[in-house]
């Protein structure tokens, strides 16, 4: 298909095609759109793309994306630094932040333990978490594990809990089971079993 395009255009289309959720059609649409943009707008876009890698780093404390050495959340004195929420990816942190309910701080593991893919604890920010809780100032009182209810999420949570509990910190995991607005009749056995396990008294 790329033979229909002049080479530079084909290159742009194929770069877009690598992006998540972008098929050949959308890639072509984006490329043609960019062709029609005024010069300064394409420059601004190109500039944003080339500087992102250089100007965004990982926060030294929580390992979330950050502009400076330490991110805005970790430096914020209004956040509760005794309450630590552990997430797998920066996008999970954003999801929790969007709720506006959580006032503590975070630790981003930068992935989950995935034994079948050879991704072990040493490839993640787990040692840093252990150290952070052990040496915490102020002292971390509760660690909330907010991993997905998948086999990899369970593996990661159980592994991390095993490391942190001996440090004398309270370790909890977010509840999982029925989705809000879900229907018991439609839930599968695995989901229902979990929903029962994580039930609470009213």
């Amino acid at each position: 298909m790329a033979v229909y395009y002049p080479k530079p255009l084909a290159r742009l289309v194929s770069e877009f095609e690598k992006l998540p959720g972008i098929g050949p059609k959308s890639a072509q649409r984006l490329a043609f759109y960019i062709m029609r943009l005024p010069e300064e707008e394409t420059r601004a876009l190109a500039d944003a793309l080339t500087t992102i890698k250089a100007s965004i780093k990982f926060c030294r404390i929580c390992h979330n994306y950050s502009e400076g050495e330490i991110c805005d959340i970790c430096t914020d004195p209004r956040r509760d630094h005794t309450l630590l929420c552990v997430v797998a990816e920066p996008r999970d942190l954003i999801a929790v932040e969007k709720t506006g309910e959580f006032k503590g701080v975070y630790h981003v593991l930068q992935g989950v333990i995935s034994p079948l893919d050879g991704i072990g604890p040493d490839k993640l920010r787990i040692k840093d978490l252990q150290q952070r809780v052990a040496e915490g100032d102020p002292r971390v009182e509760e660690v909330i594990l907010a991993t997905n209810p998948t086999v990899e999420g369970d593996t990661t949570s159980m592994y991390v809990a095993g490391l942190l509990k001996p440090l004398g910190v309270k370790v909890t995991r977010i509840a999982h089971g029925m989705p809000v607005g879900g229907d018991l009749d439609y839930a599968d056995q695995a989901t229902l079993i979990q929903a029962y396990e994580y039930r609470r008294e009213l």
Binding site: P115, L116, P121, V151, T155, G181, Y186, D188, T191
Partner: protein, 261 residues
């Protein structure tokens, strides 16, 4: 698109796109095959629980152009206890990993399916869970045609442990295809010889004698000591490595758990 249904256990699950997963499934009627679960990564998907790793599911399938497409699911067995204890879950993943790398696509074996299902069931309750993995490995080797001769020395044909029971110095030789008596075992100098004490030898013999259908008896076995369990584990690992020509990735995590405890 011809539609059909099949019971299968999920051996592997990989992200395919923002919303879809590719599953590697093992079915008694079909053997190993891949299928795409569209939308399984969305939070409210009927597919997500049923397409989770180590779940035994009744799948409705349609034959697509290159891949089978999951159209319907019903969870048959989700082995929930595996999700509560790390060693059980890690061993469960190892069994799936091992089977995944021991078979070809579309080579059905109801026996191997049953082996995996009973292995996962045993892992839910058995103590120590690794015993279920050792039974699985012995039976898998047998089913693949690599059953080691465990009851007589592969060189002099002397019955083992037999008169050597108190000498403790046996070995499993992969090139000889079986155990060696203390006269012929050289585990210190011969790389091919995995050291086995009398306890480990007896454990392997018992696990083999249980057969493919004998997993229920695992819970009633006399407890094996840590040394015997270690020796059996290392000997079987070496056999599997030679016959399958690879190490399972899931072993790294299992080993890291063993070392940290």
């Amino acid at each position: 698109m011809p539609a059909y249904s099949a019971t299968a256990i999920v051996l592997q699950r990989r992200h395919f796109s923002e919303t879809d997963n590719i599953l590697t499934l093992y079915s008694p009627e079909i053997g190993r095959f891949s299928a795409i679960a569209k939308g399984a990564r969305k939070p409210i998907s009927r597919l997500s629980g049923a397409t989770e790793l180590l779940t035994c599911t009744r799948f409705g399938l349609a034959s697509g152009k290159s891949l089978e497409i999951v159209t319907q699911v019903e969870v048959l067995e989700s082995f929930p206890a595996l999700r509560h204890e790390l060693p059980r879950l890690a061993h469960g993943l190892y069994l799936a990993d091992l089977l995944n790398h021991s078979v070809e696509d579309h080579a059905p074996s109801p026996e191997l399916f049953e082996l995996l299902r009973s292995g996962l069931r045993q892992l839910e309750t058995l103590s120590p869970p690794e015993l279920a993995a050792r039974w699985f490995e012995v039976q898998l080797l047998g089913d693949l045609g690599y059953a080691p001769n465990l009851f007589e020395c592969s060189i002099c044909r002397a019955p083992v442990p037999g008169e050597f029971a108190r000498e403790e110095r046996f070995a499993l030789s992969i090139t000889q295809g079986g155990v060696l008596c203390p006269v012929h075992a050289r585990p210190e100098t011969n790389e091919d010889h995995s050291a086995l004490g009398t306890g480990a030898l007896r454990l392997l013999q018992t696990l083999e004698a249980l057969g493919l259908g004998g997993s229920a008896a695992l819970a009633a076995l006399p407890a094996a000591g840590p040394r015997s369990l270690d020796q059996a584990r290392l000997a079987l690992r070496r056999s599997l490595r030679v016959h399958l020509e690879r190490d399972m990735k899931s072993l790294e995590f299992l080993d890291s758990l063993r070392n940290s405890v």
